[in-house]
Amino acid sequence: MIQIEDVSFRYSNSKDDALEHINLHIRQGEFVVLVGSSGCGKTTITRLINRLVPEFFEGKLEGKVYIDGQDTSDLDIQDLAGIVGSVFQDPRSQFFATDTTAEIAFSCENVGLPREELCRRIEKAANDLQINRLLERSIFELSSGEKQSVAIASVYALSPKILVLDEPSANLDTSATKRLMAILDVLKKRGYTIVISEHRIHYLKDIADRAILIEHGKIKREISREEFQKLSNSDANEMGLRSMNLLSIKPHPFDFLKKGNDFVCLDRISYRYGKNDVILENVEISAARGDVVGIVGHNGVGKSTLLEIVCGLKKEMGGSFLIDGKPASPKIRNRDTFLVMQNSDYQLFTESVEKELYLGSGKDQALRQKGLALLEKMGLSDYLQQHPASLSGGQKQRLCIAVACMKNTDVICFDEPTSGLDYISMKNVSSLLHDLSEEGKVLFVTSHDYEFLLSTCTHICHLKLGSVADYFEVKEETAHQIYQILF
């Protein structure tokens, strides 16, 4: 079905080859997982298949790619629309319509199917993927998981032969990932050829026919179905992949004995939208210096709202907020806290890494020293004069953390810091958070990344129906409890 023959590719703005002499044959009906750490070239291979490389992302291509027996160098991206369906990482930026039904119809409209056929296809897609309840909805009220289902339905409606998915689970929580897995299972049973690039592999364990490990643009190893299922956590981690068997992950050993006084206290904090729409009700949290509090719970339970309240971006409607024993108004919290968002693009304002660091603070000798030391620690010293927009996602995130440290606040919040991160980057974030914790800062982290929560947090705060359902220390005995909350 897919033949990639000795393909090398270099993006036109890059000095290094993204792919080197790739040979890959994928049979009809096969389910192939491309694995490897970020930047290894697995996304580029998916782009070869839908021809975004070299047509949309330009560069120098050598070798041949055949899709369904046709040489793709004779074809355009749009000619492949009926053969290859593509689903991307960020469900927010792949929607063209503003309501779900129109979105599912979109590909079919483009190829000019008659209206009766269109309606039939929409119905079939919704039935087969069991998303009838999502029809005729505004896309702005869907969760990321629901959006991803609609995105798959949209390409499914055109009934292509091949489905290419680029890290589809990166923005999904665990229950949405489960649903994604169920949909992929349906597609596989219907004989679709599926190629998926991922580093979160635990949900693909039982469905993958074969995995291809990519390293530095080369195929390092082919992993058969049996080997893939038996892959141990340490093997997976060594390849830059997330752990395969979540239940055997051990929590980070913390020293709970040196527990100090409560530094941040949320006392019966409540928040509502409008008059009746209760988001948070009587939330009580106390955290001491050095605590890393993981906030978990289902989508829409108010995790992000809670972080915004901690940072004073939203004003609580009831209850009181104390920092170091003193009442802290939202204005004081604005000054004394920082929020590292999921997407760093919103957080960087200037034209160089250096200026970014000193924005909003002075620039005396002591601060300079501190800034340079921070950049050194974050591995950003070589990028002092670079534009923040030219950094990689992980580098931008570390720059944001450096900015937070420059602000010299005692409370730092992180919103989903590891969505889409491979094993090594996740570990790096985790150890940065440990360092901050050791300096005596209080950290609040929202996440549904089980592996990250276990290796990072000292406490777990389980939000349910707007209040704290559970608050406990992370230890070996409680690991199972966290697993049950998330899965």
């Binding site: 749009q78 199917l113 957080q347 927009a389």
Partner: protein, 243 residues
Amino acid sequence: MNTRIHHLPELDPRMKLLLVVFFASVTFSAPNILALIWIYFLVIILYLARGLWRGAKKAGILFTVFLLLNLLLSFAPESGAAAGIGMILFMLERIVVFFVMGAWMGSHLRVSDFVTAMQNMHVPKGGTIALAVAFRYIPTVQDEFRSISNTMKLRGIGLNTKNILLHPLRTCEYAVIPLVIRSMTIADELAASAMTRGLDLETKRTSYRDVRLRPRDFLATGVIVIAVFGGLAVNIILEKGGL
């Protein structure tokens, strides 16, 4: 959770575009403040007619601010500076109608219907796609902007009166740069996704919704155009009578 989209009888996208262009051009020929108020009023009526309460409120506030500024300026002693500011205000309070009407068209716009409608008018596809992406992006911008202004607050460069008055240019720059960078990424991803789904195929596009001009589209548009001209005519007659 299960709120379904209301299928109000909506005006055809072509007529909406026509109204945007019409309002933008007629505002520039508005001879005086009374005519401008009349146009502002009709714009708000258009928002209300589509059930866009929030949009109507925002437009109302924006228009009121402009009118108040106008009033304020009329008390200022005559001078070069006042004349200069007056000139800028004159331009701004007219340009704003174009943007407010653009937002009116963009909110709840069914982008795929828009593309089909443009195709039926034989507009070249390149232009249509650019416009469609722009309209699709408007609702997203609001979300993005909220995140940006939140961060600005935390970094002590917030969009508050003090910063805007003391460092107007710099504050503006801080607000705009992340938005531009973010927009470029999103536009790129959106374009890649649209291409893999055949948006620029040469075949004639179909639409699962019925997109065509009905008599009521012409009627509604006609009524609005007549209302605008009618108001302007009354205004001119009043002015003549006043002389």
